[in-house]
């Protein structure tokens, strides 16, 4: 096995490893999204609020993802900044039904963007819970969170549903595309 993997590695066939940071407010659906991305047999059936953080690994789009699933609870949000340095992509999950806390999400995003350790990595915004009746559209989310200010990093927003996986593949394809570009050079 070791022989084969070494061989594939030399030939450039083996999948590249990427580290992705998954952040967002509590109850926005970060763990659900990651759970949805994992292969069916390893996916958990029931999720509880993440404590601290969790590390998940899965393969998607010809890349090996290592995702740091951070807890979004107020008391753990200070942990996010320790991972900014060595990630190649950031997923920012927003609960699009939680209008009242959009200001908090925006504040956390501002803090993230202003942090010195955040390099020029792609940021993928996921407007989650799009299936719920009062959900805001991605366009509304862009307006409320003033995402159009971000000019120095590639970013993308998609509406997703972590329960069914709708919109996730398209979003992940964009992120994988962006990250594989940055790895190549």
């Amino acid at each position: 096995m070791g022989l084969f993997s070494g061989l594939f590695g030399k030939l450039g066939v083996s999948k590249k490893k990427v580290k992705v940071l998954c952040v967002g407010l509590d109850n926005s659906g970060k763990s659900s999204i990651i759970n949805q991305l994992k292969p069916k047999k390893t996916a958990a059936t029931e999720l509880v609020p993440t404590v601290g953080f969790a590390v998940e690994e899965f393969a998607k789009n010809n890349l090996n993802f290592t995702v740091f699933d951070m807890s979004g609870q107020g008391r753990y949000r200070s942990l996010w900044e320790h991972y900014y340095k060595d990630v190649t992509g950031i997923m920012f999950v927003v609960d699009s039904t939680d209008k009242i806390r959009m200001c908090v999400a925006k504040d956390e995003l501002d803090t993230l963007l202003a942090h010195a350790d955040v390099r020029n990595v792609p940021i993928l915004f996921l407007a989650n819970k799009m299936d719920l009746p009062l959900a805001m559209t991605p366009v509304d989310c862009v307006a409320v969170m003033e995402l159009d200010r971000i000019t120095d990093k590639p970013w993308h927003i998609s509406a997703t549903n972590a329960m069914t996986g709708d919109g996730l593949d398209e979003a992940l394809t964009w992120l994988a595309d962006q990250m594989s570009r940055s790895i190549r050079y």
Binding site: L25, D26, N27, G74, R75, R77, T97, D98, K99, I100, R101, M102, C103, V104, K106, D107, E108, T111, L134
Partner: protein, 578 residues
């Protein structure tokens, strides 16, 4: 020299979450609560509106609206059972009743028991109804009882306040047969936890009544477990501690005093305020009371005054900002009638929110899934929700009010030069001389001033003038023997600029002389050219007496004439008749 370093403009710790300008709410702080209504961690805002509605807000929408039976005075949230999930009861006090709602459905009603009647008052009413006393006598007796310190029933108060006799008779007839009761009403309500200091621990209601009593109900809200009598009506309650362990009820009363009930006993410490209280809060060992004079006083619980915070406008509401889960911060929120909401930590102001609609009701607590939210209801019914930044710096700036640190930095004074030393030496040796010179110069200055003053007074009085920058010479002569004379006036501009806008006026005794011209508009006076003007003067006095004619040259810009001249007229020849 180092300039004082300006503090960098601090970001507001408040995030604007939501504003509904047409919420049309009518509520003060006691009628607003932030509560986890279903026990699912999603906090909602309940407002007992003065329009008799119980409104529940979740996220950015009104999710339910129930009709209340009476105008609410206060609303509290209690936990009456230990079962899970922790679903609270909502208690709404209105009139003499407390309506308890569970899952927003009416569940139970507690009524404050009637106060015992005063014997004197009961006697008056018995006599009145039996006819042994007429209405005027009854009113006099009731007024006497009231002045004697008896707390009268609403029925007696109504009777005293009705003026017309027929209306009084109608009232007495309407009440005939109905038993006289003294029903007091609830003025304020709070919650005390029973034996655990947790948000969802079992809790009991504490009521303040118009009759000046404070009632503590049991957990179910059915029976009164303790009753205290205060000298006045309590209007605000602030409660700390656990009922079964140790507790303290701080009551701000309508007589402008603050009483404390400690572990079942009315304590002897009374804080007497200078003005009526309009808000009460407790932070740790301090009682914070907002008074009507736009000031918030802080007292130690033992009754000693700690400090005062002076506000630029009257206080509308006060509320405690308390963070426990993430970090331990306790601060005071003060809403003012000018639309400001100030955040104070100890004595220093940390942040200010400016609202269009001054907040009359304020609650700080969890809202939605956010732990630190501030809900405010404005005077005009606006609902505003702000959230506290997670990383907000709520430390008081640390520097106690006092001299700034710059004061301790020595000034960069240059070294003493030789010139400086010599100058000081000279000043020391020749002080007398210097003083004399100074005095002489001072005298000269005074003399010059006096001269200038005299010049101002005499300017324009002579035949030649230098006032207002113009120098004009006037010479006058008289021709003729009388009774007709001719005044010949020669004007010459002695300056080097043309002079415009001059007028010449004449003045003489009208009994003696008749002037043919009174005002002459002078032409532009070119420098050093002599202008001649004439004026005919006729003597009208029969005896031919003589007098003076005054000539003034004026400009419209000055009150003082530029020049004046006095012409002494000769005696006039008298015309011989026949």
């Amino acid at each position: 020299m180092s300039a004082p370093i300006a503090a960098p403009p601090q970001r507001s710790p408040w995030l604007h979450a939501w504003r509904d300008p047409v919420a049309n709410l009518k509520a003060f702080s006691p009628c607003m609560r932030l509560v986890d209504l279903n026990g699912d961690g999603d906090y909602k805002l309940i407002v007992a509106d003065a329009e008799r509605r119980l409104k529940v807000y979740r996220n950015t929408s009104l999710i339910s609206e129930n009709v209340l039976l009476d105008t609410p005075v206060s609303m509290c949230v209690t936990y009456t059972e230990t079962s899970k999930p922790r679903v609270p009861s909502v208690a709404v006090a209105s009139g003499p009743h407390v309506f308890i709602y569970r899952r927003l459905r009416p569940y139970y009603k507690f009524s404050v028991p009637p106060t015992p009647l005063a014997q004197a008052e009961a006697n008056v009413w018995t006599k009145l109804h039996s006819g042994a006393m007429d209405i005027a006598e009854a009113v006099d007796a009731l007024v006497a009882a009231r002045d004697g310190g008896t707390l009268l029933t609403t029925r007696s108060v109504d009777l005293i306040n009705t003026e017309a006799l027929d209306e009084r008779t109608a009232l007495v007839d309407a009440w005939r047969g109905a038993p006289l009761t003294h029903q007091t009403v609830i003025t304020c309500m709070e919650v005390i936890r029973k034996n655990m200091d947790e948000e969802d621990a079992l809790s009991q209601l504490v009521l303040g009544t118009e009759a000046g009593s404070v009632l503590v109900l049991d957990v179910t809200g059915v029976t009164i477990v303790n009753r205290f009598q205060l000298p006045s009506t309590p209007v605000y309650l602030a409660i700390t501690g656990l009922y079964d362990v140790e507790y303290r009820l701080v009551c701000a009363c309508r007589n402008g005093s603050i009483y404390t009930i400690k572990n079942g006993e009315l304590s002897g410490t009374v804080v007497e305020l200078e003005a009526q209280p309009c808000g009460l809060a407790r932070i740790d060992k301090h009682i914070l009371v907002a008074c009507m004079g736009a000031v918030v006083h802080a007292y130690h619980i033992k009754g000693k005054k700690s400090h005062s915070l002076f506000m630029p406008a009257p206080v509308a509401a006060i509320e405690v900002l308390s963070l426990e889960r993430m970090r331990s911060v306790k601060a005071l929120l003060v809403s003012l009638h000018n639309g400001e909401v100030r955040l104070y930590v100890d004595k220093s102001i940390i942040a200010t929110i400016h609202l269009d609609d001054p907040a009359v009701g304020m609650r700080f607590g969890a809202y939605g899934r956010e732990e630190a939210a501030l809900a405010m209801v404005g005077k005009a019914g606006t609902l505003v929700i702000k959230m506290l930044q997670r990383t907000a710096n709520l430390e008081s700036s640390g520097a106690p009010p006092g001299p700034p640190p710059e004061q301790d930095i020595p000034l960069a004074i240059p070294k003493k030069t030789r010139l400086y030393v010599e100058q000081t030496q000279r000043e020391r040796e020749q002080a007398t001389e210097m003083h004399r010179i100074f005095q002489r110069d001072l005298c000269k200055l005074r003399l010059n001033t006096a001269r200038a003053y005299v010049k101002v007074l005499t300017d324009g009085q002579g035949a030649q003038s230098y006032t207002v920058g113009q120098s004009v010479r006037l010479t006058a002569g008289v021709q003729g023997l009388g009774p007709l004379f001719k005044l010949r006036l020669n004007l010459q501009n002695l300056g080097n600029k043309p002079v415009v806008d001059l007028e010449m006026t004449f003045s003489a005794n009208t009994m003696l002389y008749k002037l043919h011209t009174h005002v002459l508009q002078l032409p532009l006076l070119l420098p050093s050219v002599t202008y001649r003007c004439d004026c005919d003067v006729e003597s009208i006095d029969e005896a031919g007496a003589s007098d003076m004619v005054r000539v003034y040259v004026c400009t419209p810009t000055s009150k003082v004439p530029v020049i004046s001249a006095v012409v002494t007229m000769p005696l006039s020849e008298v015309i011989m008749d026949g």
